[in-house]
């Protein structure tokens, strides 16, 4: 039956249904997660021995550049946009996003710039090699002399990604501000919605700065302007400012929705209301505000004057206050709760632990004396992989497991899920913990060969990486197998409280037959207040098939 929720062809069409687009984002981004993962396997394969022996050095440079770029622009960003797309309209009681067609266009730009980026493997000279931050003057080198080169395609892909993200951000902010159901006041919104709002506001004010820098770099590279070329009077540090003005807040764009996911998942499986809901919600916006004034902490070693270092050290440490508030709120939420350790809960708890660890190394890095010492070493690499793999990827897995029954109408296999969690948790720590001692010992990042004294921890890290590579297999098996022949999911398998759980799994096109009339706060676990006053009118009653 065409148009039915289970009609698979919709997922390959220009659909404007936010739920279809959400799943399109999720599946596309997971494909690129695997691509970026293969690059990571090559990097760790190279680093298992001190010599540069597995791949050529230029290939190695291309690998870490593409690994970072793919993982950020083609995996975490679009994946979280997918979750936001699927969940936000359901959670606020809307029938779709504010601009469904714009939404679809924004999604279809993802495979376009993904293809452009991958096409750089086919041009002479290969892909960009200047790292995901593309600092000039390295990124201005064009040894082949061709107009179309790896770095140029990289900039093009990033620019298109920027346009797509701005479209998405306009859509999300409008949707959340104006499409909430009757009674869904600001302080009745689930925290996930708050965090998506906070993250998308960052996109709106931050991304244009990167676009500006990317345009200037592209002009330098192609038509011969001299903005960033120090040999011709340009200023390469200015690019670093443009880049980090966006790219540090970009970390909050991906971690904020993860905070939202923790805030959704923990109360459900602890059977307790979220502790300090309003404070958790507001602290998301405080993080958004502070994220605009911390970027120079990436540039402590870039000839930054002393007063500037002090100011940005202070602002960076300040941002741990709203973040710490959230962490304590989550701990208080599960404290004394009746925990049910489902796969989603395990991933949320694991992600939380990893996040605390990465937060501690983050504070260390914010301190100028420490940062000057470990700048550009593996300590930094270890820190942000604990954030991005430990917290973000595990948070994404928590969300996928938690909402899998809602999205597909099927239950997942807990056994495979727990195996997936065990492999991921062990693999993450095995892979990324050794990077901290390596960094403190002085091993620089982005090198294909290293001093043999670093061998032990590198071997451990590489084994952890291969374990992480394998950990995706039970996940893929679980997702495909359960979607095809899993047990049919009821409306609300987790006894969760939220508008999305009042609808059948998966919800029908346009979600709500009658808009819900919300009458109570979210997370009313252990209370008996109804969430909406018209629960029986949300859907057309139909015979179970």
């Amino acid at each position: 039956m065409p148009g039915a929720p289970n009609d698979w062809q919709r997922f390959f069409s220009f659909s404007t249904d936010h739920k279809v687009i959400g799943i399109q984002y999720l599946v596309t981004s997971f494909f690129f997660f695997l691509v970026g993962g293969i690059f990571a396997m090559i990097i760790r394969g190279e680093l298992i021995t001190p010599e540069s022996d597995l791949v050529d050095r230029t290939v190695y440079n291309a690998m870490f550049t593409m690994h970072g770029t793919v993982m950020l622009f083609l995996w975490t960003f679009p994946c979280l946009l997918g979750l936001g797309n699927y969940l936000v309209p359901l959670m606020i009681g809307a029938r779709d996003m504010a601009f469904p067609r714009l939404n679809a266009i924004a999604f279809w730009m993802v495979p376009v710039f993904g293809t452009i980026l991958m096409a750089s493997f086919l041009v002479p000279g290969g892909p960009a090699q200047a790292g995901w931050w593309a600092y000039p003057p390295v990124s201005l080198q064009n040894p082949t002399g061709n107009l179309i080169n790896g770095q140029m395609l990289w900039l093009l892909a990033v620019a298109i990604s920027g346009v797509s993200s701005i479209m998405g951000a306009v859509n999300f902010v409008t949707t959340i501000a104006r499409m909430r159901a009757p009674g869904m006041t600001w302080f009745r919104m689930p925290v996930f919605v708050w965090t998506v709002l906070a993250a998308q506001i960052i996109q709106l004010f931050g991304l244009p700065a990167l676009t500006a820098g990317a345009v200037m770099l592209l002009l330098d590279l192609t038509v011969g302007t001299t903005f960033f070329d120090p040999a011709k009077g340009g200023d390469p540090v200015l690019f670093q400012h443009f880049f980090w003005f966006y790219s540090h807040p970009a970390v909050y764009v991906i971690i904020l929705p993860i905070f939202g996911i923790f805030s959704e998942v923990l109360p459900v499986y602890a059977r307790k209301p979220l502790f300090g809901y309003k404070v958790v919600a507001i602290s998301s916006l405080i993080i958004t505000g502070l994220s605009a004034i911390v970027w120079v902490h990436h540039m402590f070693a870039s000839g930054t004057p002393g007063w500037m270092r002090m100011v940005f050290m202070a602002t960076t440490m300040l941002i741990s206050v709203p973040t710490g508030i959230k962490v304590f709120a989550w701990v208080a939420t599960i404290w004394g709760g009746k925990l049910r350790l489902s796969t989603a809960m395990l991933f949320a708890l694991g992600g939380l632990v990893m996040f605390v660890f990465s937060g501690i190394t983050g504070i260390m890095l914010a301190a100028v004396p420490v940062d000057i010492h470990v700048n550009n070493t593996y300590f930094v690499v270890g820190h942000f992989h604990y954030v991005i793999y430990g917290a973000v990827v595990m948070g994404i897995y928590a969300a996928i497991y938690h909402w899998f029954p809602k999205m597909t109408g099927r239950m997942y296999s807990e056994g495979l899920g727990k195996l997936h969690f065990a492999l991921t948790f062990i693999g993450t720590n095995l892979n990324f913990f050794p990077m901290h001692p390596l960094g403190l010992q002085g091993m620089p990042r982005r090198v294909a060969s290293y001093d043999p004294e670093f061998t032990f921890w590198n071997v451990v890290a590489s084994l952890g990486a291969f374990l992480l590579g394998m950990s995706t297999l039970p996940f893929i098996l679980n997702m495909i197998g359960s979607w095809v022949q899993g047990e049919k999911a009821p409306k609300n398998p987790w006894r969760a409280i939220g508008l999305e759980w009042l609808l059948s799994s998966p919800p029908t096109v346009e979600n709500f037959e009658e808009l819900p009339i919300v009458v109570s706060e979210p997370y009313g676990y252990g209370k008996s207040d109804p969430l909406v006053s018209n629960p029986d009118e949300l859907e057309v009653a139909h015979e179970p098939n």
Binding site: T174, R178, G206, A212, G213
Partner: protein, 211 residues
């Protein structure tokens, strides 16, 4: 307040009120006029950050560059750009008048002032082109040349886009029933024009006055 079943499914229903707007999103593929304006304002705020980034870059270069003006260049001629500025700023008033005429349903008054705005915008672009063609430096002549052409060019692209939008709105004003769903097209084009205007004033002060 909830829309009825027929409201929801009827794709061709022309009368969309603010209150019922939400219900029609999925059916029509775009938001209610109020949502559209809200989204457009957000977009403009975001767009302004690109300009502010360029402005910030310009200020950094101007205050720190070892060599600022290219050899043989003494400065910029202000007379022509000043005339251009007056034209562009005035066009913000003519477009406002056009909008007022549309509000009181006087289509010909709207078209007249709208066309005048298009003419003024086009003159601005013409003036910009004339200025460029007489300059003694190009965009590869140091960071001064680069930022000058980047800022005026990027702003010029926005003026060009604005004139194109105005042309589309002018043609659409001849379609019967064009304003039944509100005046979002005209209102947003007008807002965009004011935005381009304000950006130009900052740009003019930065590049031409602060030499």
């Amino acid at each position: 307040m909830n829309p009825t079943e027929t409201d929801l499914r009827d794709d061709a229903s022309p009368a969309i009120t603010e209150a019922h707007g939400d219900a029609h999103h999925a059916a029509h593929g775009h938001g209610s006029p109020g949502d559209q304006m809200f989204g457009f304002v957000i977009f403009l705020l975001s767009e302004s950050v690109i300009f502010f980034s360029f402005f910030a870059g310009y200020i950094v270069y101007k205050t720190t560059a070892q060599t600022w003006l290219p050899e043989g260049v003494l400065g910029l001629e202000v007379r022509e750009p000043a005339i251009n500025t007056v034209i562009l700023v005035s066009s913000s008033f003519t477009i406002y008048l056009a909008e007022r005429y549309l509000h009181i349903k006087q289509l010909w008054g709207f078209r007249a002032f709208w066309l005048l705005t298009i003419a003024m915008g086009s003159y601005f672009l013409y003036g910009q082109a004339i200025e460029w063609s007489h300059l003694a430096f190009g965009f590869t002549d140091g960071v001064f040349g680069g930022t000058f052409y980047l800022l005026t060019g990027f702003h010029g692209l926005h003026v060009f886009a604005g004139v194109l939008l105005q042309l589309i709105m002018l043609v659409r004003s001849f379609i019967p029933g064009n304003y039944d769903r509100g005046e979002f097209g005209v209102a947003s084009t007008s807002l965009f024009w004011h935005f381009v205007d304000v950006i130009w004033i900052i740009l003019f002060l930065l590049i031409y006055i602060w030499q």
